[in-house]
């Protein structure tokens, strides 16, 4: 019996005349990594932000465990504090040190005393290999380091799952590896992750489940093995072929 942690049912989202999501349903099991792939402009990022309601969907329902996120009575701030989010452009707080970036959610949202918050933050920064950068400011770090800080920031909240919105797309090629390594480690530790990414190597090696989206629909969904080698849909095959040529599909 799979332990479903996140469930989306018939999610619709429209921006003016443009319908971005046209009835998306999927679910994620605890401890699994789900990678969402697809051409740009197909609503992958919108789907992620629908999950934590940064963009509330127009229609459809989403559950985190037994709580319906889309229910207006749900305390959305409480839900968000248990869903981590990692952004394409990191979005670290520019005026705060690395340590304070990781600590701020603990002190402001969870009201955890400072020394305890510091302890947790240091532990998470250690996990992403940046314990020596605690007093640096984001602008003093490389993109890869910034992204790892933002992963630590998400981890510090002890989230039930983490959403990754193209976490490596804004990085120089030589910095992508360090971020993917951290994400791979998280997957191995059993963190539940939903990742929008073009990193096929990562998807192939780490994902439990791959979702291929196009034009606001889920075209196909399945295990990496099936998706890469034996997909049912010609569009999936075409896209994977193209993207693998572009980004390389070798296992990391």
């Amino acid at each position: 019996m799979p332990d479903v942690i996140l469930k989306a049912e018939n999610v619709y989202k429209r921006y003016g005349k443009l319908e971005v999501l046209k009835g998306i349903s999927f679910q994620v099991n605890r401890g699994d990594t789900t990678v969402i792939i697809g051409p740009s402009g197909t609503g992958k990022s919108t789907l992620l932000t629908c999950i934590n309601q940064l963009t509330p969907p127009d229609k459809g329902r989403i559950w985190l465990e037994d709580t319906e996120i889309t229910n207006p009575k749900t305390d959305i701030n409480l839900i968000r504090s248990s869903i981590g989010m990692v952004f394409q452009h990191f979005n670290l707080f520019t005026h705060l040190t690395v340590l304070d970036n990781v600590r701020i959610g603990l002190s402001v949202v969870k009201k955890i005393p400072k020394n305890e918050a510091t302890e947790i933050s240091m532990e998470k920064l250690n996990e992403v290999g940046l314990a020596d950068k605690v007093s640096s400011y984001p602008a003093e770090l490389s993109g890869g380091q910034q992204q790892r800080v933002s992963i630590a920031r998400a981890l510090a909240m002890n989230p039930k799952l983490i959403l990754f919105d193209e976490p490596t797309s804004a990085l120089d090629p030589e910095l992508i590896g360090e971020v993917l390594n951290v994400m791979t480690k998280l997957a191995e530790m059993g963190m539940t992750m939903v990742v929008v990414s073009h990193e096929m190597g990562f998807a192939r090696a780490v994902a439990n489940d791959i979702i291929f989206m196009e034009n606001g629909f889920i075209v196909e969904e399945g295990k990496p093995d099936k998706m890469f080698n034996d997909s049912e849909n010609p569009r999936t095959r075409e896209f994977l072929h193209k993207i693998t040529e572009l980004y390389g599909g070798k296992e990391k």
């Binding site: 968000r80 959610g105 640096s136 400011y137 003093e140």
Partner: protein, 234 residues
């Protein structure tokens, strides 16, 4: 020698005028600061209705009407409504609200220049809007506001001399008293007043520059210190 003596004798009253000028300016700026931030937050995050009915008309009015007219409106207008307002209070209201309208523009620009990713990141951690503003948006926006705010400081300080017109005994009025008592020393006394204004603006701007330097974010490109200082543009 005679002139030095004149200044020496006038010094106590000129200094007391200076103190009044500084106190006035502090009141103007504080009222403008608090209200300016509230207005700016209303502009950026508030509802359309509040903006159209309240905030925008307020800002338009106080930026479009000359300072002297505002002073007259508040001072002479208050008695029309049977409110007994001292020149001091009328000046604080007129000039403080006027500064609020200008400061709100400064803060609004600063808030809007902060990428929306900052707000998104804050909200995604579970902060509510107010927490996000307090811990993430404002600390950054206020840093960006310091250089234009130094300008506002200079303008408000100098415009405090207009309170003269409704009878506040600030620096310029004290100077005027001395000129009236001792015929023919207008140039000397007014030059001395000018010097005091200059020093106040200069010192204030230096302090703000230090503040800016102190709160500069390492590695972050908002260096204004290398540009022309605000003082040189006055």
């Amino acid at each position: 020698m005679e002139q030095l003596n004149l200044i020496w004798q006038g010094l106590p009253s000129l200094l007391s005028g200076t103190v009044t000028t500084v106190i006035l300016t502090l009141y103007f700026l504080s009222l403008g600061f608090v209200l300016g931030i509230i207005l700016a937050l209303g502009r950026v995050y508030g509802s359309r209705i509040i903006n159209i009915l309240l905030i925008q008309p307020f800002e338009r009015f106080f930026r479009a009407v000359p300072a002297l007219v505002l002073l007259f409106l508040f001072y002479f207008g208050s008695s029309f409504f049977n409110i007994n307002m001292s020149p001091f209070v009328a000046a604080i209201l007129a000039m403080g609200l006027r500064s609020a309208a200008y400061q709100s523009q400064i803060f609004r620009g600063a808030i809007q220049s902060i990428g929306e990713g900052q707000m998104k990141a804050a909200r995604s951690l579970g902060m509510n809007t107010l927490q996000s503003i307090r811990h993430v948006i404002l600390p950054q926006a206020l840093r960006l506001s310091i250089p234009p705010w130094a300008n506002e400081y200079a303008v408000v300080l100098k415009d405090s001399s207009l309170a003269y017109a409704v009878g506040v005994t600030e620096l310029l009025r004290q100077g005027r008293y001395i000129v009236a008592r001792t015929f023919g020393n207008a140039l000397l006394i007014y030059t001395f007043c000018a010097l005091i204004y200059f020093v106040l603006v200069f010192v204030g701007n230096q302090c703000l520059k230090l503040l800016e330097e102190k709160y500069r974010i390492p590695g972050y490109e908002i260096k204004t210190t290398k540009h022309q200082s605000v003082l040189e543009r006055i």
